[in-house]
C-alpha cells in the first residue's frame, strides 16, 4: 500500500482511508452494524489505517466502536475525529464522549469540524497535543466553503492537517490551499472524492478513456481516486462506502500505478469534455 509522510512528523500514512459520513450512520440496526464491521475488517486487511468521523455524523462513531471491537481493535488504526460544537467550553466533554464511542484510548487526529468555533477549539486541541492526549491537530471544511478562513488559519497556526474537498470537478484547492499546505508542511486529507456518489453516477454512463489502463484504472472510482491521491500535496483521501468490494477497489489504488502531472491534466480534460 502506497503511503505518504505526514509533513510534521514523517509518519507514513496509507494514501486511501475510510470516511464515515452517511454510510456508518445506521442507528441500532444489527444487520447494518455488522455490515459496517465487515467493511472495516476488509479495510484493515487491504492495508488501510485512517478512519475519519465526527459527532455530526449521527451514529457513525458508535458504529466505528462496534466495528473495532468486533474485529479485535487493530492497533494500526489511525483514529481521526472532529470537534463540532459551538461552545469552546463544551469541546472537551464532546471529545471525551467521541473517544468513548470509538472505544479507543486516544485519538490520533482531532480536527475542528467546518471551522465551528475554531478560535476556541484550536487552543484547546494544541493543549491536548502538548499534554500527550492527542498526536495531531487539524481543521476541516467541505464543498469549497470558507477557503479564505482556512488559508488564514494555515498561515497563522501550527496545524498538522487540513481537510478539504478535492476531486476531478471540484479543484479550487489546487490554486492556493494545496500549494500552501506543501509550503507550510501541513498534511492534506481529502473528503468528498466522489461528491458523495454524484460524480460516479454521472460518469458511470460514460466510457473510461482508452488510456485508463496505463494508470491501471479499471473503474471510474479508481480513476477519480487516483487523480486525487496523485497530487503531491495530498496525504490521504477518505472515500466512504458500505460495501466490501468498494473498499477493495478503493484500496487497490494504493497498490497500483499513479498518474504523473501530464496524465493528471489529461484526466481533467477528458472528464471536462464528457
Amino acid at each position: 500500500m502506497a503511503t505518504r509522510a505526514i509533513p510534521s512528523t514523517g509518519e507514513a500514512l496509507p494514501i486511501v482511508g475510510l470516511g464515515t459520513w452517511i454510510t456508518f450512520n445506521v442507528g441500532n440496526d444489527p444487520v447494518a452494524l455488522d455490515n459496517c464491521a465487515g467493511v472495516v475488517r476488509a479495510f484493515f486487511e487491504f492495508g488501510g489505517r485512517v478512519i475519519d468521523s465526527s459527532p455530526m455524523y449521527g451514529s457513525s462513531q458508535p458504529t466505528i466502536g462496534h466495528a473495532l471491537r468486533k474485529i479485535g481493535k487493530p492497533a494500526r488504526v489511525f483514529a481521526a475525529d472532529k470537534v463540532w460544537i459551538g461552545s469552546g467550553r463544551r469541546g472537551p466533554a464532546q471529545i471525551e464522549e467521541s473517544r468513548r464511542l470509538w472505544d479507543v484510548p486516544r485519538f490520533d487526529l482531532l480536527q475542528v469540524h467546518n471551522l465551528l468555533a475554531w478560535e476556541e477549539h484550536l487552543p484547546m486541541l494544541f493543549e491536548m497535543k502538548a499534554g500527550g492526549r492527542l498526536r495531531y491537530v487539524g481543521i476541516t471544511t467541505s464543498h469549497g466553503r470558507r477557503h479564505a478562513d482556512v488559508e488564514a488559519i494555515m498561515r497563522r497556526h501550527p496545524i498538522d492537517f487540513v481537510q478539504v474537498t478535492y476531486n476531478l470537478v471540484d479543484r479550487e484547492v489546487e490554486q492556493r490551499i494545496l500549494p500552501l499546505a506543501r509550503e507550510r508542511g501541513i498534511g492534506v486529507i481529502v473528503n468528498r472524492p466522489f461528491q458523495e456518489g454524484a460524480l460516479l453516477r454521472a460518469l458511470e454512463r460514460k466510457r473510461l478513456p482508452p488510456w485508463a489502463g496505463d494508470i491501471e484504472s479499471s473503474s471510474w472510482a479508481q480513476f477519480a481516486l487516483k487523480f486525487i491521491v496523485s497530487h503531491p500535496s495530498v496525504t490521504c483521501s477518505i472515500p466512504a462506502t458500505t460495501r466490501v468490494e468498494h473498499v477493495q477497489e478503493n484500496l487497490a489504488v494504493g497498490r497500483s500505478r499513479l498518474p504523473d502531472e501530464a496524465t493528471r491534466r489529461r484526466m481533467v480534460e477528458y472528464v471536462e469534455q464528457l
Binding site: I22, T23, N25, V26, G27, N28, D29, V31, A32, M56, Y57, G58, S59, H143, G144, R145, R146
Partner: protein, 288 residues
C-alpha cells in the same frame, strides 16, 4: 452558518434513505401488532369527526322550523362536544406515542434533531389534551344547561327559545358551520390518513415500512389536520401550527431523500390551511 447560500437541501440529510426505512422496519417489528389498534383508533376518530361535521350542518339545515329547533340543537350540540373531546384526547395520545416511540427512541439514533422534534410533538400532545379537557368541560356545562332549562316551571307566553335562553350556556350561542369545501378537505385528509399505510407499497417500498397513525408522525399529522378542520376547536390555529411545521419539515426531508410521496405532507398542509381559513356561516339558535 456562514455561506448559507452554498448549502443544498441534501447537505442537511444525515442518513441514507435505506437507513431511514430500515429504522421504520425495525420499529414496526418492535411494536407489532400495535399498528392494528392504532389504525382502528384512526378509523374511529375519523368517523366521529366526519359525523361531528355533518351534525353541525344538520343543525343549520333544521334551523328553520319552530319548536323542533331548540331540542335538535341541544341534542346535536351535546353530541358534537361529546365526540370532540374524545377525538382530541385520542389525537393527544397519538402525538405522545409518535414522540416517544418513533422520534425519541428510533429516529434520534440517526438524526440528532429528532430529540427536539420529540419535544415539539410533546407540546402538541399537551395542547390537544388541554383542548380535549376544555371540550369536555363545555360538554358537561351544556348538559347542565339542558337540565336547568327543562326543569324551570312554564311561564305563559314563553317559547322554547326563551326557556333555552334562560337555561343559558355558551353552546346556546351562535353555531358556526364549516363551509362545504372545508368539510370536503377534512374528509379527504382523514381518508388519506387511513390509507397512509398503503403509501409504502405505492412508493415501491416493502409493506414492512408502512407508516401508521400514532406510531409514525406523518399519518398522525394528516389525521390531526383532518380532525381539527372538521371539529370545533377554539384554539384551532394554535393546534394546527406544529402539524403545519411538520408538513414542511417532513416534506423537505422526504424530498431530499427523493421519496415519491414527498409532496403528500405539504399538500395536506396547504389543504388544511385552506379548509381552516374557509368562511363559516353563522346562525343564532333562537333567532327569529
Amino acid at each position: 452558518m456562514s455561506e448559507w447560500w452554498t448549502y443544498s437541501l441534501h447537505d442537511f440529510l444525515l442518513f441514507s434513505p435505506r437507513t431511514y426505512y430500515r429504522q421504520i422496519e425495525l420499529y414496526n417489528a418492535q411494536i407489532w401488532p400495535g399498528q392494528v389498534l392504532a389504525w382502528l383508533a384512526n378509523g374511529v376518530i375519523a368517523l366521529l369527526a366526519m359525523c361531528a361535521s355533518r351534525s353541525r350542518r344538520e343543525v343549520g339545515h333544521r334551523d328553520v322550523a319552530g319548536e323542533d329547533r331548540i331540542g335538535v340543537c341541544h341534542r346535536t350540540s351535546g353530541n358534537t362536544f361529546r365526540t370532540e373531546w374524545g377525538i382530541l384526547a385520542v389525537l393527544a395520545a397519538a402525538w405522545a406515542c409518535s414522540a416517544w416511540g418513533w422520534l425519541g427512541q428510533r429516529y434520534t439514533t440517526i438524526n440528532w434533531t429528532a430529540t427536539y422534534m420529540a419535544a415539539l410533538f410533546g407540546v402538541e400532545a399537551a395542547m390537544l389534551l388541554v383542548a380535549a379537557a376544555r371540550s369536555f368541560v363545555r360538554m358537561r356545562s351544556e348538559d347542565r344547561a339542558i337540565v336547568r332549562a327543562w326543569s324551570l316551571p312554564p311561564v305563559a307566553g314563553e317559547g322554547l327559545g326563551t326557556r333555552a335562553a334562560i337555561g343559558g350556556s355558551t353552546a346556546n350561542g351562535r353555531e358556526r358551520h364549516r363551509s362545504l369545501r372545508s368539510v370536503r378537505i377534512g374528509f379527504v385528509l382523514l381518508i388519506v390518513s387511513l390509507a397512509y399505510p398503503a403509501m409504502a407499497i405505492l412508493a415501491g417500498r416493502p409493506p414492512t415500512t408502512a407508516e401508521v397513525f400514532a406510531a409514525m408522525p406523518d399519518p398522525t399529522v394528516i389525521a390531526t389536520l383532518g380532525c381539527v378542520v372538521l371539529v370545533s376547536v377554539r384554539t384551532r390555529w394554535l393546534i394546527l401550527f406544529i402539524p403545519l411545521v411538520w408538513c414542511a419539515v417532513g416534506g423537505l426531508t422526504l424530498w431530499a431523500m427523493q421519496s415519491p410521496d414527498a409532496l403528500l405532507l405539504p399538500i395536506a398542509g396547504v389543504g388544511a390551511i385552506v379548509a381552516a381559513s374557509g368562511k363559516c356561516r353563522t346562525r343564532g339558535r333562537w333567532a327569529g
